[in-house]
Symmetry: C2
Subunit: 151 residues, 2 copies
């Protein structure tokens, strides 16, 4: 298990990949973002982006999935109070193959609870053309390493 003490500012990790399918784009959007640009292939083909694009919230979900599978699966995470910023920079389309670059911006130990601290990190979601399609700054509360008893 990794703790707050195991990270430092500037630490960066790049994940494996996630392939976006048309079925998943439509299914996600029908549930959470039913705008025709995400759900209606014929409508979307005539629109601004020339085809179906994924909901920006699905891009967030994909980034989170990559983060959980590849970065924080063995980190002592308590919870997340939120996200400081999301920028949807380019459309995500069916067939895209995405990966995540996760970079720690800063680490702050709690002044009131010495067993934890706050990590702010930038998640860049990158496509198969090496274009950053989304960038967000997430905030995560992580436990410090439990002290070893003196014995």
């Amino acid at each position: 298990m990794k703790y707050l003490d195991d990270f430092k500012e500037g630490f960066s990790e790049t994940t494996g990949s996630y392939t976006v399918t048309e079925d998943e784009v439509v299914a996600f959007a029908r549930a959470y973002d039913p705008q025709p640009i995400h759900t209606d292939k014929a409508f979307a083909a005539k629109g601004l982006f020339g085809g179906l694009i994924a909901s920006g919230w699905q891009s967030c979900g994909i980034a989170m999935r990559l983060l959980v599978d590849h970065v924080i699966k063995d980190v002592a995470v308590i919870a997340s109070p939120g996200v400081d910023q999301i920028r949807w920079l380019l459309p995500v389309r069916p067939g895209d193959v995405l990966h995540l670059k996760w970079t720690i911006l800063d680490i702050r130990k709690s002044t009131t609870k010495p067993d934890r601290g706050i990590v702010r990190a930038q998640s860049d979601l990158i496509n198969q053309k090496d274009e950053t399609v989304m960038s967000l700054v997430g905030v995560t509360i992580v436990l410090t390493r439990p002290s070893t008893p003196n014995c």
Copy 2:
């Protein structure tokens, strides 16, 4: 259809409701946020929140669904460049009945493209106890009303 001209700062709208089910919490998390606090009922019961809680990203999806169904379905939205802030304030649990309060913070007409402008709005996701469980500030590009031809 509503255009940028039809809104003003301080405009607020409250939506209908969305009931969160355990099956949906687990299915969303298995796809996009497979941490045991969201997927494993027995594990979650012993944890910080005393039971399963929804992924924060699912709360974003539910807020978007309420926004699409009740607020922007007849608004001339072009796209969204991003979100300025998300705060996950309280856990969302299976059985919760959520609604959204959407309030316009500011409106800025584009200086370079007179056919559009940017709306910044706060979305507060509120549960059946009238507690705000999530608050986010979204940014949306909206068309101005097309001018009537002089004829």
